[in-house]
């Protein structure tokens, strides 16, 4: 149980009797004022976007046609580029998540088990992309990709290699948060002494304990890849975001509808990540 909770409960009765409160927590009134004010200001652009999708041109009246048009096959062909872009982003999501689970995750487990001294090095490498932002990295990716394209062809999936780097800090943090709470060394030694082989140790002992971290890392990677614009746009690739910018010039309504949907999807993903961590805490307490 957190200190803040104990504190809030302990001070509440005193606050009611008018004595000065002790803790750091604000009064209910202060909290409500701050949160509703900021919440209101932050809701305005979202509400404006939603209102925008119902506008009937500049006529000032409202229409459902921008939403109903999405399922209309006749109008649908207009959005074909957007559908292609969604497919591309889907491929990139798969490649990126695979990179996280097949490259990053085993490396983190291996470092934890066999090279504890490399832990700081790995952490440093994984947070470098924060200091080298996408707009800088892309300058160096242009020459790299002119070589990569010769090897892999110009299909979209190779862009996933670049995205694997952009999600590195997020994925690392998500997995590390889980890895830190699991004593993998004791677990693997126990399994080994009971006669388990290395594959059994990894797949039946360690990875099941890291399920939460793996899921969180995968979800956050999905959200980052779906929102990525910088690298795709400057390498002249088509993904969801670059297609949205393009289509916003001919049909801004569809662009706004799809950004709202993407935003909602990312919000749900992150809500699930939050759920994952609290469920884990609850289980540990029991």
């Amino acid at each position: 149980m957190s200190g803040a909770r104990v504190d809030a409960r302990g001070t509440a009765p005193r606050a009611r009797t008018g004595a000065p409160r002790v803790g750091a927590a604000p009064s209910r009134l202060t909290r409500t004022i701050i949160l509703s004010l900021v919440g209101l200001v932050f809701a305005i652009p979202i509400v404006a976007m939603i209102q925008f999708t119902f506008r009937d041109g500049l006529s000032g009246s409202y229409t459902l046609s921008h939403w109903t048009g999405l399922t209309d096959p006749a109008v649908n062909t207009k959005y074909a580029p957007l559908v292609t872009a969604l497919g591309n982003s889907g491929v990139l999501v798969v490649v990126t998540v695979l990179l996280v689970l097949v490259l990053l995750l085993p490396t983190m487990v291996l470092v934890e088990l066999s090279f504890p001294r490399l832990r700081r090095v790995l952490e440093f490498v994984c947070i470098v992309p924060i200091t080298v932002p996408a707009i800088v990295l892309v300058v160096g990716l242009v020459p790299v990709y002119s070589v990569v394209v010769k090897v892999t062809g110009s299909s979209i999936w190779s862009l996933g290699f670049a995205y694997g780097v952009t999600v590195l800090p997020y994925a690392y943090r998500a997995i590390q948060a889980n890895l830190g709470t699991v004593d993998v060394i004791t677990l693997s030694e126990a399994a080994r002494s009971l006669g388990a082989g290395w594959a059994t140790v990894l797949f039946r002992v360690i990875l099941p304990n890291l399920r939460r971290g793996m899921l969180a890392a995968a979800f956050i990677s999905v959200a980052v890849v779906l929102g990525e614009f910088t690298i795709a746009s400057l390498l002249n690739r088509v993904n969801l975001q670059t297609a949205l910018v393009l289509i916003s010039k001919s049909d801004p309504y569809v662009a706004v509808i799809f950004s709202l949907l993407a935003l909602g999807f990312a919000f749900v993903l992150l809500l699930l990540i939050g759920r994952l961590s609290t469920v884990g805490v609850g289980r540990r307490k029991n």
Binding site: S2, G3, A4, D7, G10, P20, V22, G23, A24, A25, P26, R31, I34, L35, V38, F42, P45, I46, A48, L99, P106, T107, L110, S114, F115, V125, V128, T131, V132, P133, A134, I135, V136, V138, V139, G140, L141, P143, V144, F161, G164, V165, W198, A223, V224, G227, F229, T230, Q241, V245, S248, P252, V256, L263, A266, L270, L271, G274, R275, V281
Partner: protein, 281 residues
């Protein structure tokens, strides 16, 4: 598993990081030091100090500075308001998820949101116009540098909430109790105890916000399709046209300039973080 096999297990990741993180980073930083023929030159890096480029750096600093300060103050207020709510309650988890979405995945969508809100035909613009106040009386500023302020704040405040909340949660109730049992008021608690403890963390978050705005590209690119008013947009035009100020490899020099700023900012951030960590045990 033998040690040799284990080392072998590290190589795929090491190779990957080398190819797609180390080499691009080194290329990005060093190409600015070479001319088109591949000979070493200081021309491009020298051109960073031309008035035109200096102006874009100044604009970037201005946007980052203003949005970092406002974002940090408003974000800290939100964190304060969240103090004492249940960490696993629905209010917290909604605020957390919404903050993460807005802080990290806004990009292009923020440009759309603000065009719909304060664009020429935006909801607020029209509404204010009907009330007799024309926000674009002196010309449309949304597609200029000042137009970046509001969209940037829309991801700066959430980022502050994410980064500063752990520090506020680290305040121990015992400190407040000790303060009050020794006769201190809430005022002395905030000014003499919580304030000094939170200061390094607050300044660290401020630096992180500055770095975040400074390196952000998507929102600006979607909003400003012409021109290169801030450094990331200058890199865009350097990459597209190959020559800015008639120089090849100028994108590399600009990337080098950005990295220098980022390294200074992140170094300051990690220094301040290690001061904060002392209180978070």
């Amino acid at each position: 598993m033998t040690k040799k096999l284990a080392v072998l297990g590290l190589t795929p990741f090491a190779l990957y990081v080398l190819l797609f993180l180390a080499i691009p980073s080194v290329l990005a930083i060093t190409t600015g030091f070479f001319d088109k023929a591949g000979a070493f030159t200081l021309d491009n890096v020298g051109a960073l100090f031309s008035p035109q480029i200096l102006q874009t750096f100044l604009s970037s600093f201005w946007v980052s500075g203003v949005t970092a300060v406002i974002g940090a103050v408003v974000g800290a207020l939100v964190c304060y308001a969240l103090l004492g709510t249940r960490p696993d309650g629905p209010l917290r988890s909604t605020v957390n998820s919404a903050s993460s979405v807005l802080a990290q995945f806004g990009g292009v969508m923020l440009a759309f949101a603000f065009i719909a809100t304060i664009g020429v035909q935006g909801v607020i613009t029209v509404w204010l116009k009907d009330a007799g106040f024309d926000i674009y009386g002196d010309g449309v500023w949304l597609y200029q540098v000042p137009g970046l302020l509001l969209p940037y704040l829309y991801f700066q405040v959430p980022l502050m909430v994410i980064t500063f909340m752990p520090a506020l949660e680290g305040l121990k109730p015992q400190w407040a109790e000790a303060n009050s049992s020794l006769g201190g008021s809430r005022f002395t608690y905030w000014v003499r105890i919580a304030g000094p403890i939170l200061l390094p963390s607050f300044l660290g978050s401020l630096l992180l916000l500055f770095a975040n705005a400074f390196s952000s590209y998507a929102t600006a690119a979607a909003l400003i399709s012409q021109g290169s008013q801030i450094v990331p947009l200058q890199i865009r035009s350097a990459l597209i046209s190959e020559t800015v100020l008639g120089r090849a490899n100028m994108a590399g020099a600009l990337a080098f300039g950005m990295i220098v700023v980022m390294v200074v900012l992140m170094f300051g951030y990690s220094l301040l973080q290690s001061r904060t960590a002392r209180w978070q045990r």
